[in-house]
């Protein structure tokens, strides 16, 4: 188990290295000049040149890459061209914001998705099954940004039930410690703020949860169906076991591996793919952070942002792989 985990971690190194190289070269291909962006319409040729020099953009790209890599290894993400701020400080609040949102969305998606899938499989071909699966199909076909807009329109603009943007009350802002506001407010004992934070989470997380929920429900159903046709489930029934336990104990644990795969995949996707939801709900997350940086050609930020996202993506895969071993004892010995 341990060696399996180490092996997986070691395998990450070339992937991460490759990723950094790809990211680095991709963004150098992006036309547009950060200096021009910074200086805007007031730019003169001279000003651009001296800014280039100040930013080190006039060196050959591999020199830039090597020094970037060197910094990375020491945990230094560099500084934003635009704001001059060290990225390592800037990035965490954004990442935490996205992580909190994704986490809540994933909890919603997993809870409803798995249960809907299980019940659908258990009561295959029933009305519940049919309805749940049609809803799930619509769910996977739903453009998130559209759903987000509709949600915002209905629940916020028309009904005024929930806030439309942001993650906390601007006037009564959460004092960040970990930048996970749910945790921070609890740590500070601010239950009023906690409640506000929850309210802010509802709309975006539901929008974000739709697709994973639908995918998880579908995967759970098909995986459960497959498992429930298997010989060992027949064995369990032949023992006289109750259906409930067969479904929730025997089948679920077996069916969980493919479900885990999609959960992992979807979680990873949420991290970077939340851009659209973040745009609509003014969520100060990592997706928008990088997206904006692309707009401003803020190379170090794009670089580090994408890398961090990819890193988490890979880490989630790793965790999933390790979790496989928890759910499937056969894997440890592979």
């Amino acid at each position: 188990m341990l060696s399996y985990a180490t092996r997986r971690v070691l395998m990450l190194i070339p992937v991460l290295f490759g990723m950094s190289l790809i990211v680095f070269s991709i963004i150098r291909l992006i036309p547009g000049d950060p200096a021009q962006t910074i200086l805007g319409t007031k730019a003169t040729q001279e000003a651009i040149q001296s800014l280039h020099h100040a930013l080190g953009l006039d060196k050959p790209w591999f020199v830039q890459y090597v020094s970037y890599l060197k910094d990375l290894l020491t945990g230094d993400f560099g500084t934003s061209i635009r704001t001059n701020a060290p990225i390592s400080q800037e990035i965490w609040p954004h990442l935490a914001a996205t992580m909190e949102l994704s986490f809540v969305a994933m909890i919603i998606a997993i809870f409803f998705g798995i249960n809907a899938g299980i019940i659908s499989a258990w009561k295959q071909n029933s009305i519940f099954d049919f309805t749940a699966m049609v809803i799930a199909l619509i769910g996977v076909s739903m453009p998130v940004f559209w759903l987000g807009l509709l949600e915002q329109w209905g629940f916020s603009l028309e009904l005024h039930w929930l806030p439309s943007i942001g993650r906390d009350n601007i006037r009564n802002a959460v004092n960040p410690i970990t930048h996970f506001f749910l945790i921070d407010t609890l740590l500070q004992g601010r239950f009023d703020q906690f409640w506000v934070v929850i309210k802010h989470l509802i709309l975006p997380s539901v929008a974000l949860a739709t697709i994973p929920m639908a995918i998880i429900a579908r995967m759970t159903r098909s995986s459960m169906l497959e498992v429930m046709r298997s010989d060992y489930i027949r064995t369990a029934r032949a023992k006289g076991q109750r259906m409930f336990w067969i479904v929730y104990k025997h089948s679920l644990k077996n069916a969980f591996i493919p479900i885990l795969t999609v959960i992992g995949l979807q979680t990873g996707l949420l991290l970077g793919g939340a851009i659209l939801t973040e745009t609509i709900f003014g969520w100060p997350g990592i997706g928008r952070y990088v997206y904006n940086a692309i707009q401003y050609r803020d190379y170090p930020v794009i670089q580090s942002g994408i890398l961090v996202i990819a890193f988490f993506f890979v880490m989630i895969n790793l965790i999933v792989d390790i979790l496989y071993a928890v759910f499937d004892p056969r894997i440890k010995y592979r």
Binding site: S3, R7, L10
Partner: protein, 321 residues
């Protein structure tokens, strides 16, 4: 009897087990660990043994579908292990294979006609017309009708598919046919049809067979000589009548006694072996059978028995003899 058509000498296949941090080789599965035998022209050599003892691997190495780790295979005077790829493809015309699984061994997207024709296309035998004609002939030979050529495999039953597989093997007029469990996936009543068919074909075309099976009765029925394999080695080899009537190696004895005979009046004394077949990745030292052998002696644990000739061509690898 004439020259040996095929001679196999100390053939080995060790599959590496990969794992660890960087995909290092952790060990080897000794799937085949020094097998030697010869097949005369026109005879059938049976190969029996329990699952995983290396029968299929041996069979496939003869066509070099699996590259041998060591050893020599001499077919019709040529050393197969030394052939270049193109020569090898040429030679494969002379050795054909019949597979165990009648469902998996036919491409589901090709018509039966195309499946049978394909070997001829590959080896550029005859023109289009001739090939089509031959396909029809072959279908008749294996007991199907020529109009079956347009059908797809899934429209046939298992027995019929196995006939198609046989027709494909016959298409290039091979000298040797390696039949890897050709009937073990078939129903009893169909199994006998296919066995009869193979027997007929052998008589008609003078075919030479390496007949692999785990069903001892089938092997006895079909083979002239039989080799018994255990953990990648041949433990006993001899003419089938003698071997079945008077098995020498304790494993052969146990194996034969364990087969349930379809006759309620027949009661034999069963030798029940203890334990399971050990894993070929970690075979026991010395005689690989020693840990299950009812007659094991001390030196069986250390010394590997040679395959020795006992009488009239019977070979046994056991320290008792």
């Amino acid at each position: 009897m004439g020259e040996s058509l095929l001679k196999v000498n100390d053939l080995k296949k060790h599959f590496p087990i990969e794992g660890g941090v960087l995909g290092r080789t952790l060990g080897h599965v000794k799937a085949v660990d020094g097998v030697s035998f010869a097949i005369e022209k026109g005879e059938t050599l049976g190969l029996v043994g329990e699952s995983g003892c290396g029968k299929s691997t041996t069979g496939r190495m003869l066509l070099r579908l699996i590259e041998p780790s060591a050893g020599r295979i001499v077919f019709a005077g040529k050393d197969m292990t030394k052939l270049a790829k193109s020569e090898l493809r040429e030679l494969r015309k002379d050795i054909q294979m019949i597979f165990q699984d009648p469902f998996a061994s036919l491409n589901p997207r090709h018509t039966v006609g195309r499946i049978i024709e394909e070997p001829m296309i590959v080896h550029k035998l005859g023109g289009k017309k001739e090939r089509k004609k031959r396909v029809r002939e072959l279908l008749e030979v294996v007991g199907l009708s020529s109009y079956h050529a347009k059908r797809y495999p899934h429209q046939f039953s298992g027995g019929q598919r196995q006939r198609i597989g046989i027709a494909r093997a016959l298409a290039v007029k091979p000298k040797l046919i390696v039949a890897d469990e050709p009937v073990s996936a078939l129903d009893v009543s169909v199994q006998s049809q296919v066995l009869n068919l193979l027997q007929d074909l052998q008589e008609q075309f003078g075919l030479t067979f390496l007949f692999i099976a785990h069903d001892l009765s089938v092997v006895r029925h079909f083979s002239d000589r039989v080799g018994v394999m255990y953990l990648g080695r041949i433990v006993e080899l001899g003419a089938s009548k003698e071997l079945y009537e008077d098995p020498k190696h304790p494993y052969t004895q146990a194996l034969l006694s364990a087969v349930p005979v379809p006759d309620p009046n027949y009661q034999n004394e069963k030798i029940i072996l203890s334990g399971d077949v050990p894993s070929p990745s970690n075979p026991p030292s010395g005689c690989t059978f020693h840990n299950r052998c009812p007659m094991a002696m001390d030196h069986c644990k250390t010394k590997v028995p040679e395959l020795k000739e006992l009488e009239d061509g019977r070979l046994t690898a056991c320290h008792l003899y």
